[in-house]
Symmetry: C2
């Protein structure tokens, strides 16, 4: 027994298809197998499984009516879990199964990733835990002295995909390594199996489709496509090509979208980016704080701000923690950072935009020059990139099987690439596409300009990460510090990844009279609501020079991995069209 099923008899679950790339199992699949052979085999397997299920149903009915051909001696060992169900074996996580458990009986809790009958007396299941830890489970009614009945085997073989089970099993070595599961050197021989929570007959999104690259990014399609993708995925053979589900279908089926190993890998990398950010800043004596989301006035001019009734007044949702970071500096905190949501009421339906996103923000005192801040920001981002590259190889490679990307190029140590805005525009004029022959040094860059410049920088300097410094005054908000040597540009910068902005920052005006003058130059009134409260802080005490920056968490992850959209990174993306789930 325990010989793993041959590739050709492998099942209807799309997650096992190498082409679907669902985790480690996908890359280990039988790549030599022809599509035709597979199709045939798969059709046969399907037929068999269907036959077996029907037989099991018949038998179960007979058993229930007391007219069964044989008494079920194992009826205590399977079925729906109850409050009195007990499995007394040692609980082991799938990732821990190894030589020391060989021959032992263990307790496992896992999802049914696949289940099928092999003849009438044997069933194979694939069990999954913690993202993509999968193992083959076998149950057989033919073994002597085992408390397994035919009815039990059939019940297990008919379990619905993505149900959750609790299992007692002995750990055995398979005759050949199991190619379709991550744990290939061991398999589980089931002696008890209880259904903790059943999945429905039809999944809204199968694990196979959830594990493929998203198709359409357009939210408009969401209505029609959900249903068709659902039936299509479940009904189709993997070898005819698991259907591609749209981003909308993914997001409308959060549980299945998140269960795909690729989603879990992206989520894990997102956590790592945030953790590396905090770790680096804590090590550099930054202190965390929490700015408010609810504010009393639209702070930065009033455009693109969400407004809401607030008891007898009105409130706004903060577009950035900018003012509050500066209040912390005024409050003597020297170096601060924060991680939290910011809100933009912007009707932008692009793969770069969300109406709510997580900002990684910092602000610090400047001692001599604002490049101290720039250096800190380069430092924290390089720390993040280094951490990912050293500790998240497996996740990155897994994601690449689904979303291919070239390695993210970094500048040589200590040779960070910094261009001034004017240098960038000059490079675009000289070597960029013809449409950018006349770009101006005092006008902000468009997204296509940024991307073209990113390509030029990659070619010239061999890096996907660089800084664009000294933005023109007209492209920056009123709190940006002008360059003392050239008041038409600012001590403010953007950081770029693969030609797209991921960070905006700079030195801020810290003297109240200079701040007031710039506010007026921008056509605003230093005493208007929302701005007065801000300027008042600088009037109220002496505030040292300071600067900072804000990083878009999802953009860093998306552009590092070359994903098609930040909506694949954010846990629950919010767009003008999406507020749910």
């Amino acid at each position: 027994m325990a010989k793993p099923p041959k590739e050709a008899t492998i099942p209807t679950d799309p997650a096992l298809n190498p082409a679907s790339g669902s985790g480690a199992s996908a890359t280990e699949g039988a790549e030599t197998q022809s599509k035709k052979g597979a199709k045939k085999a798969e059709a046969k397997a399907k037929k068999e499984a269907e036959k077996a299920r029907k037989a099991a149903e018949r038998e179960a009915q007979q058993a229930a009516s007391g007219s069964g051909p044989s008494e079920d001696l194992a009826k205590e060992n399977y079925g729906d879990i109850t409050p009195t169900t007990t499995i007394s074996a040692e609980r082991v996580n799938l990732r821990k199964i190894g030589e020391e458990y060989l021959g032992k009986t263990v307790k496992v809790r896992a999802w049914i990733q696949n289940a099928r009958m092999q003849g009438a007396k044997m069933a194979f299941v694939e069990l999954r835990e913690e993202g993509n830890w999968t193992i083959q489970g076998v149950v057989s009614a033919s073994a002597e002295g085992k408390p397994v009945s035919k009815q039990m085997v059939k019940w297990i073989g008919g379990l619905k995909l993505e149900s959750f089970v609790a299992v007692e099993a002995t750990v055995q070595k398979p005759l050949e390594p199991v190619k379709s599961t991550k744990v290939s050197g061991y398999e589980l021989h089931l002696v008890k199996c209880y259904l903790v929570a059943s999945a429905p007959e039809v999944l809204g999104l199968g694990l196979g489709a959830a594990s493929r690259a998203v198709g359409s990014l357009a939210e408009e399609e969401e209505k029609g496509e959900t249903a068709s993708a659902a039936t299509a995925v479940e009904g189709l053979s993997i070898n005819e090509g698991t259907p591609v589900a749209s981003l909308a279908t993914h997001l409308n089926n959060p549980a299945m979208h998140k269960r795909a190993p690729v989603s879990q890998a992206i989520a894990d990398i997102r956590i790592a980016v945030e953790d590396y950010f905090c770790e680096y800043l804590r090590a550099h004596r930054f202190k965390k704080f929490h700015p408010p989301s609810l504010i009393g006035a639209a702070s930065e001019g009033g455009a693109n701000v969400f407004k809401l009734p607030y008891f007898e007044k009105e409130a706004f949702l903060a577009q950035s923690p900018q003012f509050y970071k500066q209040f912390e500096i005024a409050g003597g905190r020297k170096r601060v950072y924060c991680v939290g949501p910011v809100f933009r009421a912007e009707n932008s339906n692009t793969p770069r935009h969300m109406t709510e996103f997580i900002g990684l923000d910092l602000e610090m005192e400047i001692e001599e020059h604002y490049h101290e801040v720039m250096h800190m920001l380069e430092g924290v981002l390089l720390h993040i990139f280094k951490g990912l590259s050293e500790n998240y190889r497996e996740e990155i490679e897994l994601i690449r099987t689904i979303y291919p990307s070239e390695e993210f190029l970094l500048p040589k140590d200590g040779h960070e690439v910094r261009l001034t805005f004017a240098e960038g525009q000059a490079l675009l004029r000289a070597e960029g596409p013809p449409e950018f022959k006349d770009v101006k040094d005092n006008e902000d860059m468009s997204t296509p300009q940024e991307k073209a410049l990113g390509a030029l920088v990659r070619k010239k300097f061999g890096t996907d990460f660089y800084v664009l410094d000294k933005f023109p005054v007209d492209a920056r908000p009123f709190y940006a510090m002008p360059d003392p040597a050239n008041p038409e540009v600012t001590n403010a910068y953007d950081f770029m990844m693969r030609g797209q902005e991921i960070l905006s920052g700079g030195q801020r005006l810290h003297l109240p009279h200079e701040l007031e003058a710039m506010i007026r130059r921008k056509g605003l009134d230093p005493n208007q609501p929302g701005i007065k409260e801000y300027v008042d802080v600088f009037r109220s005490v002496g505030v040292p020079p300071h600067g900072g920056g804000g990083i878009g968490l999802d953009r860093v992850v998306a552009w590092y991995l070359n994903l098609p959209s930040v909506h694949l990174v954010c846990d629950y993306p919010r767009t003008p069209k999406r507020l749910s789930p």
Copy 2:
């Protein structure tokens, strides 16, 4: 030279008053000094300082008009900082000043905590950096060969409190330890001093008042009191008693409120609580995620929810990450946590309530029993209390000089105190105040009941931290799992600190038909907007049993330290009456 000024001649700055409790200096002050003597001395010092300032002004005017009595040979060494100002000495943080810097020239950047003339040729300043690192600075025009002029001394002696300066100075040992500063064994002999940012003539809140316990907690008083507190603090002698400022005055002067060492200590402890929370959960394989703040429907019944226009639709602000934590579990993440703002549109003006606050939330799969979750929550909180008690002694003691508190009592290791709700009510009936003689087992507790029970538990079990388990079904939301042994109570609990709730949690219903039945029992419709999307997730896949809890970050800090209000903990508290700054 360099003998520190005698206590009796000490200055007008309220921050130096032992009674004001502003950091280490406060507890080291001359407690033996009589109030009367101090008053007299202080008045004398004030007069002297005023005389000196006037003389300095006269001289400065004479110097400016070229008719000065003496040329200012030090004019390059002081004044407003300019882009070309340089101090080439080694930059040293005040906390690093020690034996190895004795006799060396260093660069320091700091706030002027105090400045005063001593005669016409000498000035003393108190410099502050990083919360409460203070050191005495001395500048004297009488030393031979030093580039210090009388004009420079007078300019330094007249610097406004809470201005920010850059200084070059040599580190010296004072003749006697300086009692009024945290660094008592060294002082700085200034040779250069540049004003980086000046404070105004009058502060809205002096450091002395900012360092005292807040007076009134009522937000209503905020208008009138700000001004009177401001002038009162600046004008009054510390020994007549630094005036008390209301909470509103504190919050209206964020920069000065935050500069007080007590505020910085509270902020540091708040960060520590959050960090310990995350550290413990990461070590237990929890994964972070970010729930959205903007949601498409009022999820938990619709009361107390902020609503806002959202493009052509409407949106709501999430009251908790509850549903999203559960979606993560459904998505196979096993154990998750999140830290972020939640919103309550509740018109509660109490020291316990805010309309926006930071929640520390977790959710995890349950393997056998929901007490696994309770145990994890006890574990993370005990980890926090242990961390604070071991590593934040200095901060706790500093805070206690201003907000006295008894030590926070913990249960003996492994003997956590858990009462059922019914046991708690029985204890109240038997041993509580007479008004609680008839409390019922199926009715939720009021705040006074909770506090009375907390006092009883402290007396009986010697702990300020305990769990109240098995709340009645009617006191819990629809997603709470009923106790299989007694369907009138739930597998849900509150955690209490000093008799006040800091955490609510429990096991959740994970099977869709049970969830639907409970939703109906609560008089809601499982298919109404906001609830349907939630139930759909449980219909869409098999979801294992799970539970969790949500901790109010500011409450943990406030009740641990016995502070009078969570508004003293939150960085920028939001209440029905406060949205700014």
